[in-house]
């Protein structure tokens, strides 16, 4: 497949308002069981071990008009919650056998309750991750929570997973994460070779299709991007921060690059890069997974970072990726991102790292104001740094 066609296929997975590719999975023989995962990270390893496909959902993007969801969610609630609900109401997520909501914010938490009442024929489960990472009781608690989740999923799958199922799932997740990491490494080194919106599309589609089918796609894209003859331009290297849950429109990602930025690291679709190291394949699988989630997950706005705070981590990320600035691209009404911004900006100011902050909504369609802000930001770095 040509690279352009590959990217187009990847985009189709998440930009088709009818989710025909998901429906096709459901129509296979035997039909695949699909479990939706609300961002940021849900324990998709348990879904995989049950022989089902975890489908990372990031709202309706530009695909849906909010109509029914207005009667259930107030206007000050983030777009992703409203559009996800709209997708449910308009029966576009009927291919899913269930939907999992992780403990990322109060909106996601309450959305699980809304989903349960309005779609009682499907599983809607809330997963509470520990916040007290320092506690000796956190691992046993999370193991118990993962087991609870497994008990909810197994009846849908029709089979309870064994240790070997988990090991196979972990190995698959490790391979996919390795490929994604290599793509990020390439973009950090030579961002001109793999345009942001294209690389993003390839990674994001990987959260929606059977993982084994995604691997050849990302590996092919990676091989072609590595050989790309594209040459570097005079742009500013930036870290993109704040888009870990609701995703910016593809056009906004293109705008960021067109305005003169190379995004050398980001927190887009963070759930697909949640583990900072490969999952070990030995030991009790659920305990291994619980320990790994607690000890080896990436820093994010949705989990307590411990005494060191998040500022130092962002500074380290910027330094390591040789970024000249940070662009905060935050979803409107996204509380975790908006709270973190107040502290992260202090850390950047203390280190003298320039930053720009703006808010987006998934359905926004004009980017001129943001483009102007970005161009000014880029010029200020190019001219004065």
């Amino acid at each position: 497949m040509a690279l352009d066609a590959l990217i187009a296929e990847c985009r189709e997975w998440f930009t088709d308002p009818e989710f025909r590719r998901l429906k096709a999975l459901r129509a296979e023989t035997p039909p695949l069981r699909l479990i939706g995962c609300f961002p940021v990270y849900t324990p998709e390893e348990v879904v995989l071990a049950c022989g089902m496909v975890p489908v990372h959902l990031y709202g309706g993007g530009t695909m849906v008009e909010i109509d029914h969801a207005d009667s259930r969610l107030q206007s000050f609630v983030c777009s992703i919650s409203r559009s996800t609900f709209e997708l449910g109401f308009t029966r576009r997520l009927d291919a899913l056998d269930g939907l999992l909501f992780p403990s990322i914010c109060d909106v996601s938490r309450n959305l699980s309750g809304l989903w349960r009442r309005n779609f009682p024929d499907r599983l809607a489960e809330y997963v509470h991750f520990p916040e007290n990472f320092a506690s000796a009781h956190a691992v046993p608690y999370l193991r118990h929570e993962l087991q609870r989740l497994e008990a909810k999923l197994a009846p849908i799958a029709g089979v309870a997973p064994g240790a070997d199922d988990y090991r196979r799932a972990f190995a698959l997740v490790n391979r996919q994460r390795q490929a994604v990491s290599e793509l990020y490494a390439l973009r950090a080194e030579a961002p001109w070779k793999a345009p942001l919106a294209d690389a993003y599309a390839v990674v994001r589609a990987g959260g929606m299709m059977p993982r084994g089918r995604h691997l050849p796609l990302i590996e092919q894209a990676l091989a072609e991007w590595r050989e790309s003859p594209a040459r570097p331009q005079d742009r500013v290297r930036v870290v993109l921060e704040g888009s870990f849950c609701e995703q910016p429109p593809l056009e906004l990602l293109q705008t960021i690059e067109e305005a003169g930025c190379y995004v050398v690291n980001d927190d887009l679709v963070l759930g697909q890069r949640w583990h900072a190291a490969p999952l070990p394949l030995e030991g009790d699988p659920l305990e291994t997974l619980a320990r790994h989630i607690l000890e080896r997950c990436v820093p994010s706005a949705v989990h307590h970072p411990g005494p060191q705070g998040r500022g130092a981590e962002l500074v380290r990320k910027a330094r390591e990726s040789k970024a000249e600035g940070v662009v905060f691209c935050m979803a409107k009404f996204c509380e975790p991102a908006l709270y973190d911004f107040a502290l992260l900006k202090r850390a950047l100011e203390a280190e003298g790292i320039p930053f720009l902050a703006f808010e987006f909504e998934e359905k926004m369609s004009t980017f001129e104001s943001i483009r102007t802000q970005l161009e000014t930001f880029v010029e200020s770095i190019l001219l004065f740094s």
């Binding site: 259930r72 309750g113 009781h137 046993p140 608690y141 307590h304 709270y339 900006k345």
Partner: protein, 423 residues
């Protein structure tokens, strides 16, 4: 006031007096070299911390007080100058703005924390709030993680996790203060707490009477304060003994909170503190009594059987932490409101949706659908904010409230039966 009415006003006045003394003790703590712990109301573990001599500061209470004393606006603007968005919780911004204005609150000077205990129960914003306080104060932060009631049954694994963390907190407090944990003192305080909780439930349930002697929303916010801030102390128990006497006296003499009781409602959601009096008056003029409310349960669902137990100190504290209203999943919340409507013979449900608190507000529009369309219970849905004085449109609220009660009045006049919730 004649002897026959000698307890009237006790509930309001005694708590005011006790809270005044509490704030005074707080402002003196640094000079005395006494440790100070910050924590939250929902799922608080007051008795565990006072065991080590900590004075307790509740940032929510400070924000609430600033709201009701009309000083919140300036602090919120201060926090927005620091980078906080107009779209995040006004309580947080009030507190951060207060901190950056020298911590001179209308109640007195607030001491800095020696320890931050983020006992977050039902509100994830608490985590972000205390992360910020830890950074600004450079104080140690203990994250007491209280899992959400996501299934109907209480998970034994969740309780083990909370109890385990409390044991770790005890070890940390011993290290920080140099004092040994005193289990006898904890049992003694929990015994007093339990008695106070019994009185509080009697006060709340007195509103089942028709007419009701007590308003479970507009009055409860004052009556619940000692149980939230002074729990375990002799003063706390003394307060509820006196407050119950006031309620008994009201029952004896047929005294009600709203003059003639015309409408009985259940209220869901927090009050708009910066406009509390004006908001209350919008209901008072219609003779409305809130016979039950969910806001009065954010600090514990005592009327649902939750009790501290000196025989099971940490276990009962953990159960309490998990059983605060906003830590319940939406299905449990809806069932509770439905039971309130039925058991307290309410004419309708009022949902006050506040922008600041997504923990409360996300799901309320769906609750309106259930109550008005499926259960046939007249439901009023209104919006403002609990902390930010800018989000309060008096004329619009008054119109909505007037229209709702006009409708209810018409319904009563034309003898249409008020639909009761299905039990």
């Amino acid at each position: 006031m004649s002897d026959a009415y000698r307890y009237q006003g006790t509930g309001r006045n005694l708590q005011k007096e006790m809270l005044g003394e509490w704030f005074q003790r707080l402002s003196q703590a640094p000079a005395r070299g006494e440790p100070v712990a910050y924590l939250f109301i929902s799922g608080n573990i007051a008795e565990l911390l006072t065991n080590f001599g900590f004075h307790l500061v509740y940032p929510e209470v400070n924000a609430l007080q600033c709201g009701i004393k009309k000083t919140a606006g300036q602090f919120i603007l201060k926090a927005e100058e620091l980078g906080y968005s107009p779209d995040v919780c006004g309580y947080v911004k009030n507190d951060i703005g207060l901190l950056h204005s020298g911590n001179q609150s209308p109640m007195g000077n607030l001491p800095p924390p020696s320890l931050l205990v983020c006992n977050y129960s039902g509100c994830r914003t608490y985590v972000k709030w205390f992360e910020a306080l830890a950074e600004f104060y450079k104080a140690p932060l203990f994250m007491l993680d209280v899992p959400y009631r996501r299934d109907d049954a209480l998970e034994a694994g969740d309780l083990r996790y909370v109890v385990g963390q409390m044991q770790e907190l005890i070890a940390l407090c011993e290290k920080l203060t140099g004092r040994r944990f005193d289990p006898d003192r904890l049992r003694e305080e929990l015994a007093r707490t339990r008695q106070a909780e019994d009185y509080w439930v009697r006060i709340l349930e007195s509103a089942k009477r028709v007419p009701s002697p007590f308003d479970s929303y507009f009055e409860a916010v004052f009556f619940m304060a000692p149980l939230y801030t002074l729990r375990g102390t002799p003063d706390c128990l003394r307060y509820y003994e006196a407050a119950w006497q006031e309620i008994e006296e009201r029952i004896t003499h047929g005294i009600g909170p709203a003059g003639e009781e015309r409408f009985r409602v259940v209220i869901e959601g927090p009050p708009p503190w910066p406009h509390f009096r004006a908001f209350w008056e919008m209901f008072q003029r219609w003779g409305v009594v809130a016979v039950a409310s969910t806001y009065s349960k954010v600090g514990g669902l005592y009327d649902q059987g939750v009790r501290h137990d000196p025989a099971r100190p940490l276990e009962s504290m953990a159960e309490y932490c998990m059983n605060c209203y906003t830590n319940w999943h939406l299905g449990l919340r809806r069932d509770l409101i439905r039971r309130y409507c039925h058991d307290y013979r309410a004419d309708g449900l009022v949902i006050h949706s506040v922008k600041s608190c997504r923990s409360f507000s996300v799901g309320q529009a769906d609750t309106r659908e259930v109550f008005s369309k499926e259960l046939g219970i007249p439901t009023l849905f209104i919006e403002s904010d609990l902390a930010d004085p800018r989000y309060f449109s008096a004329a619009q609220l008054r119109n909505r409230i007037d229209a709702f009660f006009e409708g209810l009045a018409h319904r009563k006049l034309t003898s249409l039966p008020v639909v009761e919730a299905r039990a």
